[in-house]
């Protein structure tokens, strides 16, 4: 993978691969701009990234060390400057992450029977381990001469039935096609069988998850730094569909909305089916809730209902609606998801948005991308690359070259000292040095990432994706949002849950903000591996196996005027605390409009079938296209699922027709039971 040199001229240079930057890159490249997209990190998506468990550990290390060593500022760009130019240095230090704290509650003891092959396999899955690298390297170089030395690594990969863990591995592989709840049981069964003393494991069928196991299965994790969901009618989903970028990713529905109330985690009924099935609401409450939600769906049509409250808070308005306490809680915290003080119309609008998103893809208004949110920026980067954008990780910009007269940015000097000219420069906020900031106060996001052993609200299905809203547990405390992901989201290993907590920082430290919530909703063992006392397991909540706290700077509220920068330099804010990504998408579109006011923003990428290739007649007589058919829907998920998708579409199409049929013949087709013999 020899590096070549970069071209020395681009239309747009983009530094940072977060969501906004990536969308801008894709949009520019799509309309023919020459785009160079670089990131100083060795991974995509910046603060939007997701990591395998081991990747996350490296990330933590990196940030812990970053505080200690100040990189020497390189000054060798001076000679690259010409008459009438001056340099503007960028920060080489990322200060957006702070207060990192890691806690391990899983037992660190090795598993009973870690055999050699397994150990090697574990090492193999950790790319940073130099041993394994050497092994393959050696195998590669010497295999022709060294016949008898079987590469250990390979043998384990080759035979799926070696070691007690192979069964679990195998099952998970199948699971990737889409989870069946029973598979988890199967796995347990297999593990039990494989266990040397089945009698011993009987009282505790669920295998205890050790830290060793988490590390070994590290690649099963995709841990997002930013925890967000996609509103099914939000601007991100709209953009994914509009641009055809959706074909690079797959999504799952969030399956339920939960809330923490009176010391308990409860399911929030939001869809019609939920309300019907709810056991906690009385029938009268059901009617109340449905009536209110139905009103919200088109509240603009009934101004008389809320006009008198336009000056009042949403909370005040709710008080007048004859709603019981728990209904008010559900609506405010889990459906509108606003603070009590917002004005009535804003609260109604938030409720309406939630309701409009409901039912597009499932029973909740949200989608979550498989493999984590970190996939999304990468998908836009792929789109940019497909249209000719050049990508370079581990590569940054030292300084901008400004034209003294116009004050504009003419070029940049990269970390290899190469001067590259450009007409526009787009940069992530984190690269801006303190000198260029006029306004230094920014907010902080408090984050916690937990790996737990069971769901926060166990149900029939282990594969639930839940959003939990937690109102302040103590007066003056923050509103906390929890997203709990199951293994079928491809973000955590089987039998674990990945839990993201997010809030706007109140105290400045993530741990101070979030630990009270963690201790109420979860069980954190006093010493690693300790189990909750007999009988208390249920009441204590899931056991935390591992926890990470950190703060991330939130510059979403900072606007252009807060930076002292040339007019053709555009800054992209870091992720905000909101549940959706609308802010970042809107920002990206705004920057694109400044760059290219006359171009369309992310028009659909063409279907491969519609492209004319060189040497091809306009009729597409190439042998490959004899059979070509119009593209089916968006995305591909492998043979089976793609077929399924099509079938589903057909069914959905038919659904409409079906309705008509039922209406026409309804009475005749479905006689009322009394008239049946």
């Amino acid at each position: 993978m020899a590096a070549d040199n970069l071209p020395s001229e681009f239309d747009v240079i983009i530094l940072g691969t977060g969501l906004s930057e990536s969308v801008i890159a894709a949009a520019c490249s799509r309309v023919g701009q020459r785009v160079l997209h670089v990131d100083r990190r060795n991974y995509y998506a910046g603060n939007w990234a997701s990591f395998t468990f081991n990747g996350l550990l490296s990330w933590i290390e990196e940030y812990k060390q970053a505080g200690q060593s100040e990189e020497a500022v390189q000054e060798d760009w001076k000679e690259k400057l010409e008459e009438g130019e001056e340099a503007l240095a960028l920060s080489s230090m990322d200060t957006s992450i702070s207060n990192l704290e890691v806690f391990c509650y899983a037992s660190e003891e090795p598993e009973e029977e870690v055999n050699e092959a397994e150990a090697a396999a574990a090492a193999w899955s950790v790319p940073q381990t130099p041993d394994s690298e050497g092994e393959v390297e050696r195998c590669l170089l010497e295999s022709s001469s060294v016949e008898e030395e079987e590469p250990v690594v390979a043998s384990d990969e080759a035979s799926p039935a070696s070691g007690p863990d192979a069964g679990a591995e195998h099952t998970q592989q199948e699971g990737q096609e889409g989870e069946v709840p029973s598979q988890a049981e199967e796995t347990q069964g297999e593990e039990q069988q494989a266990s040397p003393s089945p009698a011993e494991s009987q009282p505790e069928p669920k295998k205890k998850i050790t830290y060793t196991k988490i590390v070994k299965e590290g690649r099963r994790f995709n841990i997002d730094l930013v925890s967000k969901l996609m509103f099914s009618r939000g601007s991100l989903v709209d953009l994914l569909i509009k641009s055809n970028v959706s074909r690079y990713a797959e999504f799952k529905n969030v399956t339920r909305i939960l809330t923490y109330r009176n010391g308990k985690v409860e399911q929030v009924p939001c869809s019609r089916a939920d309300v019907f099935g709810s056991k906690q609401l009385t029938v009268v409450e059901k009617r109340m809730l449905m009536k209110f939600l139905t009103f919200c769906l088109d509240f603009e049509q009934h101004p008389e209902e809320y006009q008198d409250f336009s000056e009042h808070s949403f909370w005040d308005f709710l008080q007048t609606k004859k709603l019981t306490d728990n209904l008010q809680h559900f609506i405010l915290h889990s459906i509108a998801m606003v603070i009590p003080e917002v004005c009535t119309v804003e609260g109604l609008r938030a409720t309406q948005h939630f309701l409009r998103c409901l039912g597009r893809y499932g029973n909740t208004p949200f989608l979550f991308p498989l493999y984590g949110l970190g996939e999304i920026p990468q998908c836009f980067c792929r789109m940019c690359a497909v249209f000719g954008g050049i990508y370079c990780l581990r590569h940054s910009v030292q300084c901008l070259v400004l034209d003294k007269e116009s004050g504009k940015c003419k070029a940049v000097i990269d970390t290899h000292g190469q001067r590259i000219s450009c007409s526009h420069f787009v940069v992530e906020d984190g690269y801006i040095g303190a000198d260029q900031r006029k306004n230094t106060d920014s907010r902080q996001i408090s984050r916690a990432v937990l790996i737990t052993d069971r769901s926060i609200l166990p149900s029939d299905s282990e594969q639930q994706i839940s959003l939990v809203t937690v109102p302040p547990v103590e007066p003056g405390g923050p509103l906390v949002r929890i997203i709990e992901l199951c293994s079928s989201t491809m973000t955590c290993m089987l039998d674990t849950y990945l839990v993201h907590l997010t809030c706007s920082s109140a105290s400045g430290s993530a741990q101070e903000d979030l630990a009270p919530v963690v201790s109420r909703l979860f069980y954190t063992p006093a010493s690693p591996g300790e189990e909750p006392a007999e009988g208390e397991e249920e009441s204590r909540g899931p056991t935390v196996l591992w926890a990470l706290y950190f703060n991330m700077r939130d510059t979403s509220a900072v606007d252009r005027s807060s930076y002292d920068l040339p007019s053709n330099v555009h800054v992209c804010a870091s992720p905000d605390t909101a549940l959706g990504s609308d802010h970042s998408i809107k920002l990206a579109e705004a920057v694109f409009r400044q760059l290219l006011p006359d171009e369309e923003f992310c028009p659909p990428a063409p279907n491969p079938e519609d492209i004319i290739y060189d040497g091809e007649g306009p009729q597409g007589e190439g042998p490959g296209f004899e059979e070509a058919v119009p593209a089916e829907g968006a995305g591909v998920q492998g043979g089976e699922s793609a077929e399924r998708q099509e079938g589903k579409e057909a069914v959905e199409e038919a659904e409409g027709a079906g309705d008509a049929v039922t209406q026409e013949t309804g009475a005749g087709d479905e006689p009322s039971p009394t008239s049946e013999e």
Partner: protein
């Protein structure tokens, strides 16, 4: 332009599509012709299967091809080993699955699947059930799939409780799907039947009733389960009170079995030497089945319904041979046997009496038992409370109003009469499209209430004046009525059923909009008819009155017919027996 993809123009794409279509059509037509030729030649081979598969996969509703396929498969069954037959049919199922993906509502595909499943040597019903579940999860109203599923359940003997859970799931995900509720209503009586001895309000017919067969199953559900169902369905209609599925199911839950078929009244008139028999349900007694025994002697009589319109009727009459009972000094004993249900009723005509009858008195429970159940009053009372609660929240909801009306009738029809009428008024306002329906329903209830009042008062005079009646019903209950007053209503006609009032002597029906008198047909005792201010316009409308031998008074004032020239003489000629004619 550099860096931009060249795309096919719309015209190019259209052209490609057109060529594609052309090509497809050519293939299609060629295959079709080849198939028809083969079929004509009686070829039943694999190639034919292949060809039909090709066409059916794009057009699964080509019925002829499925038929041909079945011919081929039947033939292959005769020449192949069972294992091969199994494989052939399994392949057929796989193929059908792909057809269903193209069109999940294709009659042809589902029908063929049913056929294949039934012929498969070793069917895998679990798989078929899974297919149905998947299909229904995509469209829970696909009735093709529901039909097929019923077949699968029947063939594979899926336990009823498992099916009930299946409806739990479906209703849980979409409670607006009536198919699921209806299926549930067929399962519940099987799983939780009503206790075997229902409280029988009338006499002791148990010895004569046949053992319950699946067809005559009570369709009732034990009370414990009923309470659970009430809760479930209330969750549905409180969540969405405009959803009719839940209300229909609720009505079914509240409803009960139809009245048992029996003879409810026998009437005998000495003067006319006539017997009238009323049944609890319309029957056809014209052929055999109904037998009259007089003083121990079976009689050869001819039974007829009260009006030639009816082959089924709740009231049947016959004339006895002249002189059989006209001797006023003798006592006679009659027994009417209804052999179809092994039931009978006696009636004694005592010395000196000109008529006699024997009957069950109609109680409210009996009258309305086909509407709502006689579950414990407390249960109905609490249901009424729930509905009233909902009505408070949704004062305009028609389903709720109507259900309240039905509950009130089941609980205390006379006590709730005023509220019922007011609810009907609201119903007509909020659902004006159906105001005529509500008018009829309200008429029915008013008639029922009047019947009850009459029963309690034990009189044969029936007054229904000024009740906003739009139609007449329950006339079979009025077999013994001698005086009826229907004045000041909105009646359009006296329907043929009116002829059931075999004892009627005086009819008052002033101030209606009656234009048709079909029901005044052979009423043997009718003497006075007052039809002031109605819409009778033609002389021919009065033709039927000639069948009433005793008619002497007729008041037709205020009818268009009186405007006809020479009406006086025409009427005198038509109805010579009428001595008191007012026009």
């Amino acid at each position: 332009m550099h860096g931009r993809v060249k795309l096919k123009s719309t015209a190019q794409q259209e052209e490609e599509k057109r060529k594609e279509r052309e090509k497809k059509l050519k293939i299609y037509v060629a295959a079709r012709d080849a198939i028809f030729t083969k079929r004509m030649e009686g070829v039943l081979d694999d190639e034919a299967l292949q060809l039909t598969q090709q066409l059916l996969s794009s057009n699964p509703d080509f019925a002829t091809l499925w038929n041909y396929r079945r011919e081929i498969l039947l033939h292959l069954e005769t020449v192949r080993e069972e294992d091969d037959v199994q494989k052939t049919y399994e392949a057929e199922l796989l193929f059908l699955e792909s057809c269903l993906k193209v069109n999940p509502k294709s009659y042809g595909s589902w029908h063929h699947r049913g056929w294949v499943s039934a012929r498969l040597p070793r069917p895998d019903w679990a798989r078929e059930l899974g297919l149905c579940d998947r299909c229904l999860s995509l469209d829970d109203r696909n009735f093709h799939c529901w039909d097929y599923r019923r077949m699968v359940v029947k063939m594979s003997g899926v336990p009823v409780d498992q099916e009930l859970q299946f409806t739990d799931r479906l209703i849980g995900s979409n409670f607006s799907n009536y198919s699921s509720w209806h299926y549930r209503s067929t399962l519940l009586p099987l799983l939780h039947p009503e206790s075997p001895d229902p409280p029988s309000p009338c006499h002791q017919p148990s010895h004569s009733s046949p053992p319950p067969s699946p067809q005559t199953h009570s369709h009732r559900v034990c009370e414990e389960q009923l309470l659970k169902e009430y809760e479930l369905v209330q969750n549905a209609f409180f969540t969405d009170p405009n959803d009719q599925s839940a209300w229909f199911y609720y009505r079914w839950l509240l409803g009960r079995a139809e009245r048992e078929e029996m003879i409810s009244c026998v009437f005998v008139s000495r003067e006319e030497e006539r017997v009238a028999v009323a049944f609890s349900r319309p029957v056809n007694a014209s052929s055999s089945g109904l037998m009259l025994v007089l003083d121990g002697q079976p009689q050869r009589v001819e039974w007829r319904s009260v009006h030639p319109h009816f082959r089924h009727s709740p009231v049947w009459i016959c004339e006895l041979p002249p002189g059989t009972i006209s001797d006023i000094i003798n006592e006679h004993n009659l027994t009417v046997h209804w052999t179809e249900k092994h039931t009978h009723r006696d009636c004694a005509l005592y010395t000196g009496r000109s008529e006699s009858w024997c009957r069950d008195s109609a109680t409210d429970q009996e009258l309305f038992r086909s509407e709502l159940s006689v579950e414990k009053t407390s249960v109905l009372q609490s249901e009424l409370q729930s509905c009233n609660q909902l009505l408070e929240l949704e004062p305009q909801n028609k389903w709720c109003l109507l259900t309240i009306v039905l509950l009130m009738r089941a609980l205390d029809p006379l006590g709730y009469e005023r509220e019922t009428l007011s609810h009907f008024q609201t119903l007509k306002e909020v659902d004006s499209m159906r105001s005529a329906y509500y008018g009829d329903l309200c008429s029915k209830f008013m008639i029922e209430n009047t019947i009850l009042k009459m029963e309690y008062a034990e009189v044969r005079v029936f007054s229904l004046s000024d009740k906003n009646l739009t139609m007449l019903c329950h006339l079979d209950q009025l077999l013994l009525v001698t005086h009826i007053n229907l004045s000041c209503n909105q009646l359009l006609r006296l329907p043929p059923q009116f002829a059931m009032l075999q004892c009627l002597e005086v009819l008052e029906a002033d101030d209606n909009t009656i234009e048709n008198l079909d029901g005044l047909y052979y009423l043997p005792k009718l003497q006075e008819v007052s039809l002031k201010n109605n819409q009778i316009s033609k002389l021919s409308d009065l033709q039927l009155l000639t069948s009433c031998p005793k008619l002497t008074c007729l008041d037709l004032r205020g009818n268009p017919v009186t405007q006809i020239a020479n009406i006086q003489s025409e009427l005198t000629e038509l109805l010579p027996s009428v001595t008191d004619l007012l026009i």
